[in-house]
Assembly symmetry: C2
């Protein structure tokens, strides 16, 4: 059993972690291994939910079963809203091998790394300017992870609460030594952006199509339930290409759902794994807008948990 | 974190455990709380599978997420085929509260108790003779649990391997001090039975309709996947009533599936919770054949895990 502090010491935003997550997407797209649908338990009386993701992946010695929790009355109890833990089973014998009481850290990490993988394969090669919508932990981690794939020099942060945006902009400037800003208008934040990342729990589009400049890549992180949506369906229709981590998940509870609902799905839907493996072209025009919807997969959880355990074994002589 | 031996010391085949499981079925039938569909991960290269069941139940302070494993190459490694563990989360805050490394003991226990609950509500009041098909752990536990609800005086055990049936018959005679037998013919085992329990991993019917005498109650335990089936569809059609723990689960991977597949579903399908709550009649004729298909629910797992934790707290001053 590992606690959050031990898990944090073992894995972070590094190149091996990035490569570990990048390798997952082609396996997901090949429907390799076994990944059941995401299931969810609702606890409306405490504004709570538990999401369960799990997967067996070829080549992985473990199978992760991850429970993510969001209990939105927790702050009034002095507890964080989000949490979770990961059970790992031996893929050969089914025996439980580890309990990672990571409080959701691995989800945060693998999600940030997935954003970096998407930008790596879809953003312009010369991208240096990013904008992030939202000012939570995932907004910060997305910007930090982008540094692994592009030399981002300027980041604009926009959030509904301007003071939260300003605080994150200051923090990112301190941590990364880059220029940051927190403009009052979203249009100002996105105007010159090469990479835009949305990280909100929005239930209606927060990023209007007309605010996305030509040549930009957009990654949407927020939607992970059928009532959530961050992107304007017009933006998905304009995307060339529209990419997602998992077609069925995106249609069920990601950005594709909103576009399907209004009868405006993108003409072509490509999975990120197909772009990474070269089976589908990614960005073919420097002035195109590319979009990637990341719903999060149990396969990512199995891969990052596998890295935690292989590093743990390596650290114990 | 509790290991199997501690879990075994805290709960067993007792009346409070029986009552705990009996209370679950009406909640399941009311679709109270939140119980997602069962999900499954297959690992064909090691003949392995993981099943995940989970539920939030009104009045339960915890939410169990249970992973059951079956890895059928394990015996060649000196390991048991079946296993599993249970994670418990606080239903108010979502925080993980316990990991029960019970190796599947709680699944065995709550399944045996469910069989007793079904017999309690559906078998003749004067039932004293039981037959069990299968000779594994669950066969033994079903017979032991029946003692909680009927004064069973004779048990006939039948299994494909006669030596396994004979060994279980001897063991039950020793443990329970009752008459037991292990006839070579299944027809002989079921001829006078008031209660018949099937506990096999069969993928085609093991209990022909014509071997079930008038007045008998049949509980089917084995089917928990779409390729499994223990009962003859003709028996389901004859049942008055045909009962199951959860209609959708029975239709998807229980006995109802086989009957639907051959176009011979029972005229009436009643859930056990409706019988327990008195909303549907159970047995109305002492000479009727009643059938109950138990697929197993996450709600049972949440209830039995809740009892483990309440006893643990009571035992620690």
């Amino acid at each position: 059993m590992l606690h959050a502090d031990e898990v944090c010491r073992l894995v972070g935003l590094g190149p091996e972690e990035l490569a570990t997550i990048a390798r997952v997407f082609p396996l997901v797209t090949a429907r390799a291994g076994s990944m059941p649908p995401v299931v969810r338990i609702d606890v409306p009386e405490h504004r709570g939910e538990l999401d369960i993701k799990a997967a067996a992946l070829p080549g992985e010695p473990g199978i992760a079963v991850k429970v993510s929790t969001g209990f939105f009355d927790n702050p009034s109890r002095g507890l964080p809203s989000l949490g979770g833990c990961v059970l790992v089973f031996d893929a050969t014998t089914g025996q439980p091998t580890a309990v990672l009481l990571d409080d959701g850290y691995l989800t945060d990490l693998r999600t940030a790394l997935a954003g970096a993988v998407a930008a790596d394969h879809l953003a312009r090669a010369d991208a240096t300017r990013a904008a992030v919508v939202g000012a939570g932990t995932q907004a910060r981690l997305q910007v930090e992870a982008l540094q692994l794939v592009r030399p981002v020099q300027h980041v604009a942060v926009w959030a509904r609460r301007p003071e939260a945006a300003a605080a994150l902009a200051d923090r990112l400037a301190d941590r990364l030594g880059i220029a940051t800003s927190a403009p009052h208008e979203l249009a100002e934040a996105t105007r010159d952006a090469h990479i835009i990342v949305t990280t909100t729990p929005a239930s209606s589009p927060v990023l209007p199509d007309e605010l996305v400049p030509a040549g930009a890549h957009v990654t949407a992180i927020g939607a992970d339930a059928p009532h959530k949506q961050e992107l304007d369906p017009a933006l998905l229709a304009r995307a060339a290409p529209f990419v997602c981590d998992h077609r069925e998940q995106s249609a069920q509870f990601g950005e594709l759902r909103g576009a399907l609902q209004v009868g405006r799905p993108p003409a072509v839907v490509v999975e990120l794994g197909a772009v990474i493996s070269g089976r589908s072209p990614g960005r073919t025009d420097p002035d195109a807008v590319t979009v990637c919807d990341l719903t999060g997969t149990g396969a990512q959880d199995t891969a990052i948990a596998g890295l935690v355990l292989s590093r743990l074994r390596a650290s114990r002589p």
